[in-house]
């Protein structure tokens, strides 16, 4: 049952709803076991690039003259870069988009995790650290690719409005590392948010808020994952062992409350990074 659905890596569609496919999650009648359902992931169609779509692809030696077509004559601002009418429209669009995103940004400071976790940020990656009776517990996650695809069915046309747009929620995979004093190895848990529990729909959710995918010993502080260490996968694990592992994490502050707070933190971080990216993109396009 806890066989994890592999996260379909997909970035959120914020500016446009095109290019996604969604599958409705089957609601299970409770007269049958709600735990017997199978969920199917959604795969975004691969978007082929402009180069690929041209019959004469890059391999033919032919280069389409994208910038010499009508209506996109180059303009120069003296920076020796190319500027087109399209770039100008793009820049204007980004200005509006940044304004809108800042409007919906609830807070600019990141929420604090309860339980005395210290946050350290490095770009899109975050590390939470906590010392419990000499034991060091760290949780790392990356907000990139942390927004699951939208599983909800398309709303009826009359219900569609800006207000009913679903919230973008970041549910990153996260790695918990527990290091005991005077040991060279850390016990490492690879955790994730099962997709049907990530705030979708009103059906009877059937997965835990978060789940352990893999457990292994790794040399302390090593950045590189040591593939030669035995890795316990939870796909076909004895449930009693799994429950002990979950209790072990809970005793170290990684429980459902933590997992919920992590979603809040990650969602806000992701939004900050998104706005920052839009600002960088705007600056790049406008040559600021």
């Amino acid at each position: 049952m806890l066989k994890s659905l592999s996260r379909v890596v997909s970035t959120a569609i914020r500016m446009s709803s095109s290019g996604t496919t969604s599958s409705a999650r089957a609601l299970q009648p409770l007269s049958r076991s709600a735990l017997c359902s199978t969920n199917s992931g959604t795969i975004r169609p691969f978007t082929r690039s402009l180069w690929m779509m041209n019959n004469n692809g890059a391999a033919s030696g032919y280069r389409p003259k994208l910038f010499s077509s009508k209506g996109s004559s180059p303009v120069s601002c003296g920076c020796e870069s190319l500027h087109t009418e399209g770039d100008k429209a793009f820049g204007d669009f980004l200005t509006d988009e940044i304004k809108e995103e800042k409007k919906i940004q609830k807070k600019t400071t990141l929420p604090k995790m309860s339980g005395g976790w210290e946050l350290e940020k490095n770009g899109t990656e975050a590390k939470l650290t906590r010392i419990v009776s000499g034991e060091k517990v760290t949780v790392t996650f990356n907000v990139n690719n942390s927004i699951p695809p939208n599983f909800e069915e398309e709303a009826e046309p009359e219900q569609k409005s800006a207000d009913t747009e679903p919230d973008v929620v970041s549910t990153p995979n996260f790695v918990v590392e527990v290091t005991k004093p005077a040991t060279k190895h850390s016990l490492v848990f690879d955790c994730h948010y099962p997709e049907d529990e990530a705030g979708h729909g009103e059906g009877e959710e059937e997965s835990d808020i978060f789940a352990i995918r893999e457990v292994s010993f790794q040399p302390e502080g090593d950045v590189e994952w040591k593939e030669t260490s035995y890795t316990l996968t939870t796909d076909s694990l004895d449930w009693a062992l799994y429950d002990h592992l979950m209790d072990f994490l809970a005793d170290r502050g990684v429980d459902n409350t933590f997992a919920d707070e992590l979603i809040e933190l990650s969602t806000m971080m992701e939004h900050q990074e998104y706005i920052k990216f839009l600002e960088d993109l705007s600056g790049f396009v406008k040559c600021n």
Partner: protein
């Protein structure tokens, strides 16, 4: 698959391993190890919603059972023909509701969860308590299960329903 345990709430800290061990003991006593059973721990908000949908009762409660076999004669185990029919159904435990009740009555939460699960399993096995006769029959079964449980574990669990007419 066996016992599938889910904790969908963050209001009450749960010891999953202990809950599993206790419910596995109940399954052993009843001889239902070959059947799948879902045990889902939820908060007040969620159990209230389920209660409203399926029982038209818009209040939180302690336990809701959803049998896989709806027409079982009490005490008769189902005879599944296929593997996917080796399923008794799901029990939703209102752990937040039970936690508050335990605080109020100074009872141990995990012991209460086990008693409540025994009650839920009885429902999955066809027991009801709508009439006085049904109630007596169910109370007898619950008492038997918990007496056996106490004998195995040295604990002192008591049945959930004590008087006829309790709404469960």
């Amino acid at each position: 698959m066996g016992l599938v345990l889910r904790n969908l709430q963050n209001m009450v800290p749960l010891r999953r391993a202990r809950l599993r061990k206790d419910v596995e003991t109940l399954r052993h006593i009843l001889g239902i190890q070959k059947f799948d059973l879902g045990l889902i721990c939820v908060d007040n908000r969620k159990i209230q919603r389920i209660n409203n949908i399926y029982r038209k009762n818009n209040t939180p409660t302690d336990v809701l059972s959803f049998p896989f076999y709806e027409e079982l004669r009490p005490g008769k185990l189902p005879c599944p023909l296929h593997r996917d029919e080796q399923n008794l159904g799901d029990i939703f435990l209102g752990v937040e509701y039970l936690f508050k009740q335990c605080q109020h009555e100074s009872r141990d939460l995990h012991e209460t969860l086990t008693s409540v699960t025994a009650h839920g399993i009885c429902h999955l096995l066809g027991y009801r308590h709508e009439s006085k006769e049904e109630w007596t029959e169910m109370l007898q079964k619950e008492s038997y299960i918990l007496n056996e449980f106490n004998r195995f574990t040295g604990r002192h669990l008591v049945p959930l329903i004590k008087t006829f007419g309790e709404d469960r």
